[in-house]
Symmetry: none
């Protein structure tokens, strides 16, 4: 299968960046199906033909978006992993909980992307594995008694809490209430404290 072309020259890179940004924005606004290639090209100020040079089809563009998000995510996790050993458990709990919220802008597009059509399994699974694996790693670093399997189970819960918090904060249309974010934070802290004891 064809893949996205990585441009060699400077101007090409700028264009690719513009297209990715536009893609993220448009997909965030209109969803994957709702977004049109023409719309993305227009938003990026790029001719449609140029867009197709770099991303031979819509799916590959979306893949590239996921890829880009993974880079950001990795960097953010690096930071957490460095801090984790030297901070109290509540700090770690919050760091993971708020982790999605900090990548905010890219995030909305991601949500729309990962929530859409089901042929995504591969990219999505990879992405999830990365996240789960690294969070589990962080947990075991702090509490070596945790088995690998248990760390993964906890990581799954934390990841879901993170998604919920992200949804709360990004104003998405999910069950919510004024006190819910705080409630979730407390729950998440006490849960992690309990599991890392």
């Amino acid at each position: 299968m064809r893949r996205a072309i990585t441009p060699q020259r400077r101007p090409g890179k700028a264009r690719v960046a513009a297209v990715l940004e536009a893609g993220a924005a448009v997909i965030a606004e209109q969803g994957y199906d709702g977004a049109t290639m023409a719309g993305i090209a227009a938003r990026a100020g790029a001719p449609i033909g140029s867009l197709y040079r770099f991303f031979p089809n819509k799916e590959i563009l979306a893949d590239a978006l996921v890829q880009r998000y993974m880079v950001l995510v990795n960097a953010a996790l690096d930071v957490i992993q460095q801090q984790a050993p030297h901070r109290p458990t509540d700090f770690v709990a919050d760091a993971i909980l708020d982790f999605g919220t900090r990548l905010h802008d890219e995030t909305k597009a991601m949500v729309n992307l990962l929530e859409s059509r089901s042929d995504w399994s591969v990219k999505r699974r990879k992405f999830r594995e990365l996240l789960l694996g690294r969070i589990a790693e962080i947990l075991r670093q702090r509490s070596p008694a945790l088995t690998e399997a248990a760390a993964r189970d906890v990581a799954v819960i934390l990841l879901h809490h993170m998604k919920i918090m992200k949804a709360f904060k990004s104003g998405r249309d999910v069950p919510n209430s004024p006190g819910a974010p705080d409630e979730l934070r407390r729950l998440n802290r006490s849960y992690l404290a309990d599991r890392l004891r």
Copy 2:
């Protein structure tokens, strides 16, 4: 605005049922945008014109699906509300947690439906209000000390836990692990016990 027609005669009712079932199935598989009216009609063994006779457009069909789900949900909540006062807290926690799982088949379509395009707000919000309200009600029945606001906050958390469990069980492509469902169950029980203490 036009609404779904309620068929008068026997065969009409069967057809509507078939269409709804097909609609739920196809939307569950392909998402709201991915699903086509022709595809749904074919799956239901109904000519496209018949489908449009009962559901004048795609959105109304989706509305009808939500509506049907709401009926099921209400019935299930009735049962929980009756049992709740006479059972231990863990039972209530589990009842709410597993509540989505029991409606399984309809559920997948619902998720796709409620997760899709953002013009849904009205139906979605109504649906969510119903759920939140009733769960909060159940909680306050058991623990009258809970303020209305606090009950709502807890209900929001429970609702999200339920959604997660539903996702776990329905095989949706979400972060998961072999031990995660049990982990979530324990977390949910201890959380509710703590809040209803």
Copy 3:
């Protein structure tokens, strides 16, 4: 080709009348193409199946409408023909000019009907022949010196003046101005006076 069924019993006649009235109204409002058989049936308070019993298709219904108009037109012309010999020329000029205006309600539907799809030629031509013939007849009665051909030519002009006046008065969207109806009346009078001299 099938034709409209003429109902024998009393209730059937009432229904046919209702359908025709509804047909005239709906076609007047939405045009021939815009009007739907279902809409006409609904307006007539008649089930669609019943409508199709009397008028096997849309075209036949339209034909029946034209037919009905012809009856009205004939009656109105009878009156003019009786009065014409005993009145001044201006009276006759005005009678013909205002003739279309008096049948007002039916008229709008007629206009839409006669202006639409071009397969109407037969009905339309018959209708026009009737009108032209009778007006020419009235003219020659008053001025026997007029040849048959000349009478027809004058009748054509009068008929067009009538159509214009009808359009003026019925508020249709045609070139118009506050003084135009009076201007037309003067013109028409002096024209007829000149030709019947």
Copy 4:
């Protein structure tokens, strides 16, 4: 609201021209409602997608047709306005009367277009205002004694006479007779002579 695209390259212009011509022809034959976009595309030898590239919907295509006609009309009126001061009244009367006939081919489509569904009011009214205004202008140039209102009234009559003549000549299915065109010409001449005296 979207508007018709003006093509940049040579072949695009040819295609637009072909589509407009086809549109005029098909609408002339079948009326606005009767004409189908597919039919117009086929007649123009253009794929349906191309047609929609230039004219994003049926209404915009029709608008473009009206626009194009307005250009022709303006040019023709320019000529008349230049000649009018130096010619006898009969010449002016004839020039206006025959004015529609000279634009013949485009005309049929126009009639169907302007006669159709009533949402046209805006374009139609503009078009009519243009015509009326310019004819009134020509009249007052010749006979400054005419008040503005009177000039408009006369212009309305002339415009209707023009429409009738156009219908006569274009073979449309209207009341007609062998001598009618000449009769109308005589009437129109004597009417204008009387009013400009």
